[in-house]
C-alpha cells in the first residue's frame, strides 16, 4: 500500500504522462470511487494479473464501452440506494473516447448519468503502436499517417471533443494537462460537486509516441499549453468560466522538442498552418493574458 490510490510498481513506460494523470485523478476523487476503464495502455500497465495498481474498485471490459459499463454501475448503485456516497469515473484514451467509444460516451451524456468521464489524451493509439486517432494533432507523424515524399504526417485536425461534449448540454466540460498537476486535482474535485455527466480531457504527453526524452513530459505538457495548441478551458452549464492565460510562445518551440513533428520543421508553410491553429485557439478562448474570449461559449 502506498499513500496513493494508484500504487507505484505498475509497468508504464518511464515518463508516462497518463500514469501521472491517473494518480492525480484518483487521489482527487478519493477512495469512495468506482472506475470503469476503456481498453488502452492503462489496464495493460496497471492490472496485469495477478497484480493491480488500483486501490479503488476498478472494472475493465472493452475498448469502447466504459461509459455504458459505468452507466450500469450507476443504475445498480441507485437500485441499492448507495449512489449518493460514491463517485463514478469512466475513462479512456483518445481513441477510445473520440473514435470507437464516442457513441457509448454520447449515450452516457445524453442519459444524464452522474459520472465523470476522463479522456487521457496522448494523441494517438499508443498501446497498439502509435497509430492516428481522431485526437492526433495536425501534421503529427504516426504509423498510419507517416511522413513521406507526399506526406507531412496527419492531414486532419483534432476532433473538437469539448465542443461535442458541450453540444450534449452537460453541466461540466473542461480540459487540463499534466503540465499543471494542481489544475487536474482542482477540476476533478470540482467536477464531483456537480451532479450529472462531466467531461474532463487531460493532455498526457507520451515520450514513446511523441519522441522526446522521458524526463520532459511535464515540460511538453506546459509547452503545448503555452503555445496555444492545447487550451486549458473550463465550462460550467455551457458557460466558459475559466481559461489558463498564457503569454503565447511560437509553436516551433513545441514542435522542435518532439520527433513526431520533425518532418515539418524545415517547411515554413506547414509551420504556419500549425501556428494558425494555435492563433485560432488563442483568439477563440481569449487565452492571451488580459484578453477576453472572441466568441461566447458554445
Amino acid at each position: 500500500m502506498s499513500n496513493h490510490l494508484f500504487s507505484p510498481g505498475h509497468t508504464a513506460c518511464a515518463g508516462c504522462g497518463q500514469s501521472l494523470a491517473v494518480r492525480l485523478v484518483i487521489d482527487a476523487a478519493g477512495k469512495n470511487t468506482i472506475v470503469a476503464n476503456n481498453t488502452g495502455c492503462l489496464e495493460v500497465f496497471s492490472t496485469k494479473y495477478p497484480e493491480s495498481a488500483w486501490e479503488v474498485p476498478f472494472v475493465h471490459s472493452l475498448f469502447e464501452n466504459a461509459p455504458a459499463v459505468a452507466s450500469g454501475v450507476e443504475a445498480a448503485l441507485i437500485y441499492l440506494g448507495k449512489k449518493d456516497s460514491i463517485n463514478l469515473i469512466a475513462e479512456g484514451g483518445d481513441g477510445g473516447t473520440a473514435d470507437i467509444g464516442l457513441q457509448s460516451l454520447s449515450g452516457m451524456w445524453e442519459r444524464g448519468h452522474d459520472i465523470l468521464y476522463i479522456c487521457y489524451d496522448n494523441e494517438a493509439y499508443m498501446n497498439t503502436g502509435i497509430q492516428r486517432s481522431g485526437l492526433t494533432p495536425f501534421s503529427a507523424n504516426t504509423t498510419t499517417t507517416p511522413k513521406g515524399v507526399k506526406s507531412f504526417g496527419n492531414p486532419k485536425m483534432k476532433k473538437p471533443m469539448p465542443e461535442i461534449a458541450l453540444a450534449h448540454g452537460i453541466p461540466y466540460v473542461a480540459t487540463s494537462s499534466i503540465g499543471y498537476p494542481q489544475d487536474i486535482t482542482r477540476k476533478v474535485k470540482k467536477a464531483f460537486t456537480i451532479k450529472g455527466p462531466k467531461y474532463l480531457q487531460i493532455h498526457v504527453p507520451c515520450p514513446l509516441g511523441w519522441q522526446y526524452p522521458s524526463n520532459k513530459s511535464l515540460d511538453m505538457g506546459k509547452l503545448a499549453v503555452e503555445t496555444g495548441l492545447y487550451p486549458i478551458i473550463e465550462y460550467e452549464n455551457g458557460k466558459l468560466v475559466s481559461v489558463r492565460k498564457i503569454t503565447p510562445k511560437p509553436v516551433e518551440e513545441y514542435l522542435k522538442a518532439q520527433g513526431r513533428f520533425k518532418q515539418i520543421l524545415s517547411n515554413p508553410d506547414e509551420i504556419k498552418k500549425v501556428q494558425a491553429i494555435a492563433d485560432n485557439n488563442i483568439a477563440k478562448y481569449g487565452l492571451k493574458s488580459e484578453s477576453q474570449p472572441e466568441t461566447p461559449a458554445v
Binding site: K48, S61, G72, V73, A75
Partner: protein, 393 residues
C-alpha cells in the same frame, strides 16, 4: 394460475417474478414487446428496477455487465443483429463470469435483411461461454428464465444464460401458461449474492489483463464449468418440479423415442410441429420419434448418445447453417457417435425454416420420408429451385 397471454408478456412476467434490479435494452424486432412490457411495469411501479434505455445493443449488454458487476441481478433481451452487435460484450460477460440472463428472440441474420425466425443468431454465438437453453413453447420460455437465474447464479457456475425462443412463433404467439406465484419463485430463486463485485469497502480489480501464463486457465475454467452445469441442470429441474409441478429434464427430451426407428433431432418451437406429425404417423403404425435438445450449451453429448444409440435412422434438423460446412447441430450430433460401436446406421442432416419460412407438417413428413439408407448432408428442405439463378447441382 392459468393465463392466456402473448409470449413476450409471459417472458416479461417471468422476469418480473425474478426481481431484477437493472434492465437495459435496445429495441429490435421481435424482442420489443418483452422490454416494452418491462418498461411499463417499471413505469407503473409494479417492478422495482432501474430501466436504462441505451443507444445500441452493445451498450445494453455493457450496462448489464456493469450492473451485474456491482452485484445486482440484471436482465437484457435482444435478437438477430442486436445479438451480433453485442457479440464482443457477450464473450466478455462470460469471461468475467457475470451471471446475466438474456432472452434472444431468435431471428435470421442479414443480408438479405429479414425479421423472421431462424436460429442463426444464437447458434453463431455458441462458443461464447454462455449457457444456451432453447424453448419449445411459452411455458418453457417462462420456466427457463426462472431456471436460468438459479443456474447462472449458482456459486459453482457463475456463467450467463441465454434463453433462446423462436421470434414471432413464440414471442408473438398467444398461449395459455401456468403462471407461478411470487412465493413460488422466491422459494426457488433466492436473492442474488455476488461472490465478487465492485465495492468501495472491498476494492477489487475486475477484467484484468491475463498474459499467456494465465489466460488458458481462465478459458479452461469456463469449459469445465459448462460440464458442471451439465450435471447441475437436471438437479435444478428436479427441484423446479417440486416447487412448480412441472418436470423438465433440462438437457434433452425424448418423444416417442423408445421403439422409434426414425427420429428427428431438433431445437425450439418446431418440436411442437414434429410432435403433432409423430402423433399422426404413429396412428398409421410408423415408428417415428423426436429428440429435442433443450441445452445446446452445455452440449449434452452423453445424454444424446444414450438416447439415440439404438435408433436406426436419425435426422438432424437445423434452423441455421454453418455456411460452407456441415449444419451446426448435425455436426455435433454426429460427433457424439464417432468411434462408438452402438450408433445409428444413418444420421442425415436437414436445414429448414430459414428467415421465417414455415416448417410445416408436410416439411416434417418429407424429412421422415427422406430418412432412407442414403445419408443426406445438409439437405435444404422446401428449397425453391425456381428462385435460384444458377444451377448448383
Amino acid at each position: 394460475m392459468k393465463e392466456l397471454l402473448e409470449g413476450s408478456m409471459i417472458v416479461a412476467k417471468a422476469i418480473q417474478l425474478c426481481r431484477p434490479g437493472v434492465i437495459s435494452a435496445y429495441p429490435i424486432t421481435p424482442q420489443t414487446h418483452i422490454v416494452e412490457e418491462l418498461a411499463q411495469m417499471v413505469a407503473d411501479g409494479h417492478l422495482n428496477a432501474q430501466f436504462v434505455n441505451v443507444e445500441s445493443e452493445h451498450s445494453a449488454a455493457s450496462v448489464v455487465l456493469g450492473s451485474e458487476a456491482t452485484g445486482v441481478r440484471s436482465y437484457t433481451a435482444t435478437s438477430s443483429q442486436g445479438l451480433l452487435l453485442m457479440a464482443e460484450v457477450i464473450f466478455n460477460i462470460a469471461g468475467m463470469r457475470l451471471p446475466i440472463v438474456l432472452t434472444d428472440a431468435n431471428r435470421a441474420i442479414s443480408a438479405p435483411i429479414n425479421i423472421w425466425n431462424d436460429q442463426q443468431d444464437t447458434i453463431s454465438l455458441r462458443d461464447a461461454g454462455w449457457i444456451q437453453l432453447y424453448a419449445e413453447d411459452n411455458q418453457e420460455a417462462l420456466d427457463f428464465h426462472i431456471l436460468a437465474y438459479r443456474l447462472a447464479e449458482d456459486k459453482n457456475i457463475m456463467l450467463p444464460v441465454m434463453v433462446c425462443m423462436d421470434g414471432f412463433i413464440l414471442t408473438h404467439g398467444i398461449e395459455t401458461v401456468d403462471m407461478p406465484t411470487q412465493e413460488q419463485v422466491d422459494k426457488y430463486l433466492p436473492p442474488y449474492k455476488a461472490l465478487y463485485k465492485l465495492d468501495v469497502d472491498n476494492p477489487l480489480t475486475l477484467g484484468p489483463l491475463a498474459d499467456p501464463d494465465y489466460y488458458t486457465e481462465a478459458r479452461y475454467a469456463i469449459h469445465e464449468t459448462q460440464k458442471k452445469a451439465l450435471a447441475l441442470i437436471p438437479k435444478l429441474t428436479a427441484e423446479f418440479a417440486k416447487v412448480f409441478g412441472r418436470n423438465y429434464n433440462g438437457l434433452i427430451e425424448g418423444y416417442q423415442i423408445k421403439d422409434a426407428e426414425r427420429v428427428i433431432v431438433a431445437m425450439g418451437s418446431v418440436c411442437g410441429t414434429i410432435k403433432d406429425v409423430i402423433d399422426e404417423l404413429r396412428k398409421k403404425g410408423k415408428k417415428v420419434g423426436l429428440l429435442k435438445i433443450t441445452s445446446f450449451r452445455p452440449f449434452p453429448a452423453q445424454e444424446i448418445y444414450e438416447a439415440l444409440k439404438n435408433v436406426p435412422k436419425v435426422a438432424v434438423l437445423d434452423r441455421s447453417v454453418s455456411l460452407g460446412s456441415f449444419a451446426p447441430a448435425a455436426s455435433e450430433i454426429k460427433a457424439c457417435f464417432f468411434g462408438k460401436t452402438k450408433k445409428p446406421k444413418v444420421i442425415s442432416s436437414f436445414v429448414a425454416g430459414l428467415g421465417g419460412r414455415d416448417i410445416t407438417k408436410d416439411s416434417i413428413k418429407e424429412i421422415y420420408s427422406a430418412l432412407t439408407q442414403k445419408e443426406k448432408t445438409c439437405e435444404f428442405i422446401d428449397l425453391k429451385p425456381e428462385l435460384l439463378k444458377e444451377n448448383y447441382e
